[in-house]
């Protein structure tokens, strides 16, 4: 069965510091991968997606992610975070249905 694992439930970081949110997936077939962001009491907004092609994917708000097939990972990165990036981040994989990880809370401190 397919699964998505987000390795950190919470990531505290200071403003303007770089951040990496980790995501691993398990699947015996090709997957499409996504990162979503959820601000408090709001729906999920798509940050970026990997369908095929270049393994480095750039998304909105300065985020990027790298697909690594050998390590079955799709980690999300931002070189310099802002207070406004404080939110819940979800990694997801699609192999017929969209399966979500448990989420990572990014806490950006001033």
């Amino acid at each position: 069965a397919q699964s998505v694992t987000q390795l950190d439930s919470q990531v505290p970081v200071f403003e303007e510091a770089p951040v990496e949110l980790r995501c691993n997936y398990s699947s015996s077939v090709s997957v499409y991968l996504f990162w979503y962001v959820q601000y408090p009491n709001q729906g999920l907004q798509l940050l970026l997606k990997y369908l095929s092609g270049s393994t480095l994917v750039k998304g909105i708000n300065g985020f990027e992610a790298e697909f690594n097939k050998s390590q079955t990972s799709f980690h999300l990165r931002k070189p310099s975070v802002h207070i406004s990036d404080t939110a819940e981040y979800f990694c997801a994989a699609w192999t017929g249905k969209l399966i979500f990880g448990q989420g990572t809370t990014l806490q950006v401190k001033p």
């Binding site: 499409y32 979503y36 999920l44 997801a92 989420g103």
Partner: protein
């Protein structure tokens, strides 16, 4: 452009009362539609999905049901709410089966008291 509407935004209901949450999509036809629940401290749980009018697939047996009376309308219902039904309910839609990702509504915060 496509938009998804979900209402109400918040709802407080007593135990044993009925529930009806509505979701509509505009600007597309024959979308796949989904209901997710997000309980406190948990991830997203897929409850129901629909690939067409009257076609509902249930992912988790529970106190809830879903219906799709029109192409772009998806309704989540319950006859008698339980305390455990509290949570944040999200509707989503996709095209082409969802391989390009899902688009989510703004959610409904349900508190059962």
């Amino acid at each position: 452009s496509q938009t998804i509407h979900q209402w109400p935004a918040t709802l407080v209901q007593p135990v044993g009362s009925p529930l009806s949450l509505e979701c509509t999509v505009e600007g597309t036809s024959n979308p796949n539609l989904y209901w997710y629940r997000q309980a406190a401290g948990r991830g997203l749980q897929l409850l129901f999905y629909s690939v067409g009018i009257g076609q509902i697939s249930s992912e988790v047996p529970q106190n809830l049901s879903a219906s799709r009376p029109q192409d772009r309308q998806f309704i989540l219902s319950s006859k008698k709410l339980l305390l455990s039904d509290s949570g944040f309910y999200l509707c989503a839609w996709s095209r082409y089966g969802g391989s390009y990702g899902y688009t989510f509504g703004s959610g409904t915060r349900l508190t059962v008291v």
